[in-house]
Amino acid sequence: MGLLQNIIFGVITGSYIAIAAIGFNLIYGIVNMINFAYGEYLTLGAFIGLFAATALPIPLPVAVLVAMAGGGLVSIVLARAFFTPINQTGPVPLLLTSIGLGIALRNAIRLVAGREARYYDTETTTFRFDAVPDLSVGSVDLLGGFFVTSKQLIVVASAVAVFVAIYGLLTRTDVGIAMRAMGDDESLARVRGIDTQLIRDSVWVLAGILAGLSGVLLAIQTNVSATTGFSQILQILSAAILGGAGSPYGAIVGAYLIGIVLALSTAFLPSGMSGLSSAIAFGILILVLLVKPSGIAGAEVREA
């Protein structure tokens, strides 16, 4: 496989990481907490979608919408139950609570759904582009034939749709602008009459919807098990921090960088070292943060 094919794999991985990382960064930037249980929201979304598509059953696109709605509901209920009551205690208690909640959710899912992986029943069409010529440099083929599947195109298209929708929300609607205002300065937001709890709740719902979508897309690509979301949380967190803590647009850049680095290191490292691919992704994270601590798109921290 050539470089081109692996970059395509990276873009696909980056797409569902990006959707989740936007949600993660909205929570980080506006509610001001790192939500380590966020991976479990992906898992729950994927299971809700699976249940809707197989047990009910309803068509897959509708099941995806059900998963998104379910993710939003899960997110707001958990936030109201566990995070809102301790909102004033600061980021560290919130982070620790989310780690504990994540462990509890993961094991609860395992108890209910079992250990084995489940699969969405989908059909997929593969589009092959074998006519692309090879362009070898040393042992690496820069171009070469490649393929994409219809599922992969759906993942990328969904991500693009999410980017457009989030941009529209954050720049064109009152609630979106109020979210950004709150991320800037919560005290000033209250002075301007913004109901901060309402905005926080909106962020939780929105982040849950994004987690649900990301989880379903991930599960359609591969499968869903109790650890589906948890296995992604470090990538999501890295993408979010790499792009710029709290910045939804930075999260997109960070996600594609992480996705492509993961794909390339898996493909081109010697076979004995392929387990190091995540280590390389995090190495890049550390390097970027050393050069620019606020991340690629992050604003400088404002003096209080």
């Binding site: 950004r180 800037d184 000033l188 937001a189 002075v191 209080a304």
Partner: protein, 234 residues
């Protein structure tokens, strides 16, 4: 009845009392300033009115309603426009978006008021799509005032509007406040620049250690020997 009447107010942050027994009133159309040394509690008076500082006892009556203890997001509906001293704009929002948030509690953004803000501060009209954080200190101060004016408030509270401005811009800022007051908006201002503030205002209060010390017409305070000695540097 006064537009704003503060009676025997104790206020502070959490359990820490900063103000004790403050009396202050503002009449419709007036221009009132509060001066005093650093740490006198001037800004806390403002924050107590808008609900950021906690009122421990006493009353803050605005148009006949006791607003002491109400939350900031409720008080903004009462017709009080507040311009904090620093961090008074949202830096990652554009000028236009800041003004839109200024009118957040209204059903729709009042276009004619927004235009009035741009007419009053033309430098903002040239930068509608720029991030507020990229504006100069003086421009940010104008934007913050513009945000407060979006609600056409009954009273405009200004917390140290000259703070952080280059010296040659200070006179210009006070001129703009005069214009706003002349157009009929009641102004209550806290200022470090005591002489200039007292020269401009109708009435003034001198605060020290969280208590009322002097209260009179601006000119009278300026010419008062004791006030000059203690608070205006002779």
């Amino acid at each position: 009845m006064s537009l704003l009447d503060i009676d025997d107010l104790d206020a502070g942050y959490g359990d820490i009392k900063v103000l004790s027994g403050i009396h202050l009133h503002v009449e419709d159309g007036e221009y009132v300033t509060v001066v005093g040394p650093n740490g006198a509690g001037k800004s806390t008076v403002m924050k107590a009115i808008v609900g950021i500082a906690s009122c421990l006892s006493g009353t803050v009556t605005f148009r006949g309603t006791d607003i002491a203890g109400m939350a900031p997001e409720e008080i903004v509906h009462e017709g009080i426009g507040y311009v904090p001293q620093s961090n008074n704009v949202f830096p990652t929002l554009t000028v236009e978006e800041n003004l839109r948030i200024g009118a957040y509690v209204l059903e729709t953004v009042p276009e004619e008021r927004k235009q009035a803000v741009y007419d009053r501060f033309p430098v903002l009209a040239d930068r509608t799509d720029e991030k507020a954080g990229s504006l100069s200190g003086g421009q940010q101060q104008m934007l913050a005032m513009g945000c407060a004016l979006m609600l056409d408030p009954d009273v405009l509270l200004l917390d140290e509007p000259s703070a952080g401005l280059a010296p040659d811009l200070v006179g210009d800022m006070f001129d703009r406040i005069d214009t706003i007051n002349d157009a009929g908006t009641t102004v209550l201002m806290v200022e470090q620049n005591a002489k200039e503030a007292l020269r401009r205002c109708d009435r003034g209060y001198v605060l020290a250690n969280g208590e009322n010390r002097y209260e009179d017409d601006g000119d009278a305070l300026l010419n008062d020997e004791e006030v000059r000695q203690q608070f205006l540097g002779g």
